[in-house]
């Protein structure tokens, strides 16, 4: 069998694919963060908690109401998004005029409170959530066994990422949004309700986190800590991609998933550090991130 640095090529293909799967979660989560930061200038540290809430929402729907995975994909983002809208209306909007740091502190505090409440109620071992029957099982690709569910995650994540990018960069609605962040007064003068637009944008970003949460539920345990563990990595992804750059967040998400996957083969001990090493190197060369523009 052919080998690359002592690792069979076949095994390497498997690892690349796994990297892409993890990358699709990074991409979905960092996309939400990038949308919120790009359009609201808020560093949303509650993102991990909102992702966790999405997963819990799916669990509740299934176990308390008998509503399955596919409906959860639609309901959880709306429900958690509505919660996001509430937070934005009641708290975050008072901070737009202040330094980034205040938004960061508020959202970080909220994240701790939400996680703490869930942990108190559900413990840290988490709750089981089965893969939906339609996507159970998998396909033997020759070089690896690919669970159908993971294949679905890649496809779904790509579609959502591309659709979001398209809406924001290529449609009229997207142009209002971008204009609204550049010069809110002027856009308002044209009769656009900017505060409402911003609220809904935050709700949308939060909804994306919840969607990722629902998709993660069958793979990882539905666990109060699931978001806290992931959010730091996702922030690194956003920073590497360039704060606020939608395309940057998507591409870096997938790219770093693959880099992390390869590290797990060649030097597994470093697999949770490698992303930060990449971050340090990128920031030294391009301080605004790979796709960011210096303001």
């Amino acid at each position: 069998m052919d080998t690359i640095f002592g690792v069979p090529t076949q095994a390497l293909f498997g690892q690349l694919l796994i990297g892409l799967i993890n990358g699709s979660f990074y991409a979905l989560l960092s996309l939400g963060l990038a949308v919120i930061f790009g359009l609201l200038n808020i560093i949303n540290f509650t993102h991990g908690a909102q992702y966790m809430m999405g997963a819990f929402c799916a669990w509740f729907l299934l176990n308390k109401l008998g509503v399955g995975y596919w409906w959860a994909l639609a309901i959880a983002p709306v429900a958690v998004g509505a919660f996001g809208v509430l937070i934005e209306r009641l708290m975050i909007r008072h901070l737009y005029q202040l330094d980034h740091l205040y938004g960061l502190l508020l959202t970080f505090g909220l994240a701790l409170i939400i996680q703490g409440l869930f942990r108190n109620e559900f413990g840290s071992a988490g709750l089981p959530y089965q893969v939906p029957a339609e996507l159970a099982g998998g396909q033997n690709l020759g070089f690896m066994f690919l669970p159908k569910y993971r294949a679905w995650v890649i496809v779904a994540s790509l579609v959502v990422c591309m659709a979001t990018w398209f809406v924001i960069e290529k449609t009229k609605l997207g142009s209002y949004l971008r204009a609204g962040t550049e010069n809110p007064q002027l856009v308002q003068a044209f009769g656009v309700n900017v505060p409402r637009m911003i609220t809904l944008t935050y709700g949308f970003g939060v909804g994306l986190a919840a969607l990722a949460g629902v998709m993660a539920a069958p793979i990882y345990q539905v666990n109060p800590l699931m978001g806290g563990d992931l959010i730091i990595v996702v922030f690194a992804v956003v920073v590497i991609g360039g704060m606020g750059s939608i395309l940057g967040a998507i591409l870096t998400g997938f790219g770093l998933g693959v880099i992390e996957g390869l590290t797990k083969v060649f030097y597994p001990e470093a697999s949770n550090t490698v992303i930060f090493i990449v971050m340090a190197i990128v920031l030294m060369i391009k301080p605004a991130g790979l796709f960011g523009t210096q303001k």
């Binding site: 701790l112 840290s124 998998g138 793979i219 990882y220 666990n223 800590l225 563990d229 597994p268």
Partner: protein
């Protein structure tokens, strides 16, 4: 998360009246429960351990005996530096006499060293590394509930005997994982098995599919999971997803707790074989304890770690009563002298190397159809007698053993 945690001071005062023993420092016996209150081990130990300690104080009847016992607790976040800082503060400023529980081997090793320097008492329930009673043993430390040697011996032996003779390890990359992997590997090799490979994952981890794929490629019959808590749960869950068990390979959870099985659900966990030293459904006494415990712990049943905290607090207080002092070194010596006896672990003793011994149970997780409901999870396959369950005293390399 790295924010400073407030020390949750849960004071359980016993007697108000009654004269304090002259030899008890400050007239109060102060117990510190240190563990993971919020992370991936919080269900195994966490606030439940504090509940267990409180129950032990009540059952000992401290109030009636005129002893004043206070319990404080803190979160070490599974970080040795955080744990060390808390324990130094407890010993130096807060006048804590003994530290209990401390899961996460790296933290426990650090606390053991500090306890020895300060001449206090350390009763480990949560941590696993057998080094605590081996090369790192201390006259101020007793290792209570289980250890890596016992797990390896119980589970490893049973699996190799039934034909699982080629192994691949997925190991948590810190002191505990290394010790568990080392001890299990020794058992496998000794019984004529082979280790085909190993991979060390960062702690804590989230996605194990990459490591599972490597294990799958190794074609080993047994994939040994040398990790714990949330890491084990996710490994088992994702192994099912990648069709590893269907493909003919078997998982050996080297350290599995009842809370993990509760989290996984029987559908995924059925058929797992592992070793525990406590199960709530052993006899009338364990069932009675569990009923009280669950009522005080939000309906959650006790893990063996929490049961160990109860048992060790009880024996610690008995030793203080007998020794009439709370001096750490003297109390530990007294604990080794007195035979142990409690409703949860039965009769046992503490050896010179600080190892507390009691029987261990090889268990198999029931099928969903065999279970009567939540927490009815185990079939007991074998009981390993106390004297055989743990590493022989002479083999550990502990300098205290002459």
């Amino acid at each position: 998360m790295g924010l400073k945690k407030t020390l949750l001071a849960a004071a359980v005062a016993a007697a108000v009246g009654g004269t304090a023993h002259a030899q008890i420092s400050d007239g109060v016996i102060k117990i510190g429960v240190l563990n993971d209150m919020s992370g991936l081990y919080a269900d195994i130990a966490g606030p439940g351990s504090v509940v267990a300690a409180r129950m032990a104080v009540e059952d000992f009847g401290a109030a009636k005996k005129g002893m004043k016992v206070e319990i404080v607790s803190a979160d070490h976040q599974n970080k040795p530096d955080v744990g060390s800082a808390v324990v130094r503060q407890w010993y130096d400023v807060d006048k804590v006499d003994a530290v209990f529980d401390v899961p996460t081997s790296s933290v426990a090793l650090a606390v053991s060293e500090i306890t020895r320097q300060k001449g206090k008492a350390f009763l480990v329930s949560g941590a696993a590394t057998a080094d605590l009673t081996g090369k790192a043993c201390s006259p101020n430390t007793i290792h209570w509930t289980y250890d890596t040697w016992m797990l390896a011996n119980g589970t490893g032996n049973a699996i190799v005997k039934t034909g699982g003779d080629t192994w691949f390890f997925i190991t948590a990359d810190y002191a505990f994982g290394h010790a568990l992997e080392r001890d299990t590997e020794a058992v496998v090799l000794k019984s004529g098995g082979k280790v085909l490979g190993k991979v060390r994952h960062p702690f804590p981890g989230t996605d194990f599919s990459s490591f599972l794929l490597q294990a799958q490629a190794s074609k080993a019959k047994i994939i040994g999971l040398a990790n714990a808590g949330g890491d084990t749960i996710n490994s088992i869950k994702q192994a099912a997803e990648f069709g590893i068990v269907k493909g003919g390979q078997h998982l050996a959870g080297l350290l599995v707790f009842i809370t993990d099985i509760h989290g996984l659900g029987l559908e995924t966990a059925q058929g797992l074989i592992f070793t525990e030293t406590f199960y709530w459904d052993l006899n009338d006494q364990t069932r009675a304890f569990t009923k009280r415990f669950a009522a005080a712990n939000g309906g959650k049943y006790p893990s063996m770690v929490q049961a160990g905290v109860y048992s060790s607090v009880l024996h610690y207080l008995k030793a203080i009563e007998a020794a009439k002092t709370d001096d750490g070194t003297k109390v530990i010596a007294k604990m080794k002298e007195l035979p142990t006896d409690d409703p949860l672990f039965g009769k046992g003793r503490v050896r010179q190397d600080g190892r507390k011994i009691h029987p261990a149970y090889l268990v198999e997780v029931k099928k969903p159809s065999e279970s009567k409901g939540p927490y009815d999870y185990y079939k007991i396959l074998a009981t390993i007698p106390a004297e055989q369950a743990f590493r022989p005293e002479k083999e550990g390399g502990c300098p205290l053993v002459k």
